[in-house]
Amino acid sequence: MTSTNTANELELITALLGELGFTLENEQPHLKGERSLMQAVTTQSGKKFILLGRQQGDNRRVVIKITNDLGGKAELEHEQKCRKVLQQINFAYDVFFSPEEILFTEQHGYTISVQAFIEQECAFLDRPLKEQFTIALKAFKGQESAHATTYAHTRLVRSSFGSIDAQGYLEAFTTFKRKSISVQPKNTGLKELLEKAHALLSEHLYTIEQYSGFLTHVDFVPHNIRVSGSTIYLLDHSALRFGNKYEGWARFVNFMTLYNRPLEAALVQYVRDNRTPEESLALKLMRIYRLGEIIWYYIDKLEKTSGDLHLLTEKRVQFWSDVLGATLNDAPVDEQIVEEYKKIRDTLRSEEEKKRQIGLH
């Protein structure tokens, strides 16, 4: 999407939203930086605008998701369905919170979803470490409390969230491995790592399956949740599915490898201290699976990027490969590797992206 096209489309969208009683804010963080160039790792491949606005009349702040792209529309519809089913899950022992849906409509070929903006006291990573841990643990426990086990449960969730079992994880990882190796045939180090990872996942399919059937948010990272008081709101419901209960943990823990090492260590230690050895193994296996996914995601982006973003994408492939190597060896990745990567990343990021990152997590 070129910037001229984007500007024209935004003008159209602004008018459309005006008719529906919403005004856009001047500052639109989601239109800037890498996010506008690369789509998220895990969400379905739809294109959409995520905009901040105000509801006319009461001036209430809202988040508007709007798209006329077929994939994007499917994603928004899927997300709405997931939000509805989430409220019906009577086999969940805890309650999930979602931001209030103000409007969901189809207008002039656009699917529009408007939700209340959840104000939070501060960004997740700005909170004290102990509080971050408590929030994360509460959110994971909430997800784990929904376990699709009976015939009725499975029927209810199959048509909405989607599900993946151990074989599904292995098949997906096989694809990440095959494609990564075919794009980078000379990267023997990566090939070796991916083959070792694949062998480990194959060996422990039983453990992966044992903890499957749980509700898990596969893009569980700070920018997909908001915390207000003691309530955690889940954003991006399209990233919910029934799978291994440590898949969401794995995404979060891998993310913290880069953003908050003590929290990464604390979560791994918590599972080690309080859950069965098989569960610690399940977390490790899911971390490996998600690392394979992110490595392929960046390898796939190599030919679609240029300049500094291309260099940064190369560095990302190397960095996540290093994390995969460490995880396979049951060791945390060397702090020096993380710090050096961060330094390079910050020199290669555009000013716009650096601005977008402030307070994002």
Binding site: F133, E144, S145, Y151, A265
Partner: protein, 181 residues
């Protein structure tokens, strides 16, 4: 003593009653020969305990029949049935205890299931039917295992009290079981 434990929930289910049964079996396996009959796909294993499962994904009538048959077969080779309450096992347990005349001890550990039974006529009748076959019904449950949290000192006192509470629970159960040995 040979005991069959009938439970609707068992880990990896995370319900309190599921964790209770696993902890109970782990602790009692040293003194008794235990078999757990539960609804599960891939249950967590316990050294020295036989775990038999019924596929929970079967349609309700089919899984009730499958559970009843499995419990019947297992009870034949055991001296006592220890049942954790819950609608999914109450009818099979009641039937097996009634017709096989095996002593039945019922543990009302799942308060949520008990509440549901008191609100629903049919579930209430099923629960009463199972309880009518029981030689002993009790509801004592040791506290949940204290969590070890990364930024807090290890709760040694709570862990000691948790272990003591379990010791006394197991002792109480052993006294009950001894009566039917």
């Amino acid at each position: 003593m040979k005991i069959v434990i009938a439970t609707p929930l068992y880990p990896p289910e995370i319900a309190t009653s599921a964790r209770y049964i696993k902890e109970l079996a782990t602790r009692m396996a040293k003194e008794h020969e235990l078999t757990i009959v539960t609804y599960a796909h891939l249950p967590e294993k316990i050294a020295g305990v036989n775990i038999l499962t019924v596929n929970k994904r079967l349609l309700l009538p089919l899984r009730l029949i499958a559970y009843t048959l499995l419990l019947w077969k297992t009870a034949c080779a055991n001296q006592l049935i220890y049942a954790e309450n819950g609608a999914a096992i109450e009818l099979p347990v009641g039937i097996v205890a009634l017709f096989m005349r095996r002593p039945l001890v019922v543990h009302m550990g799942d308060l949520r299931a008990h509440e549901k039974a008191s609100e629903n006529w049919l579930l209430g009748k099923i629960e009463k039917f199972m309880c009518a076959q029981a030689k002993k019904i009790f509801s004592d449950i040791p506290p949940e295992c204290p969590e070890i949290l990364p930024f807090e000192p290890i709760p040694t006192e709570k862990i000691s009290s948790y272990n003591a509470s379990w010791d006394s629970h197991v002792e109480e159960l052993n006294k009950i079981f001894l009566h039917y040995d």
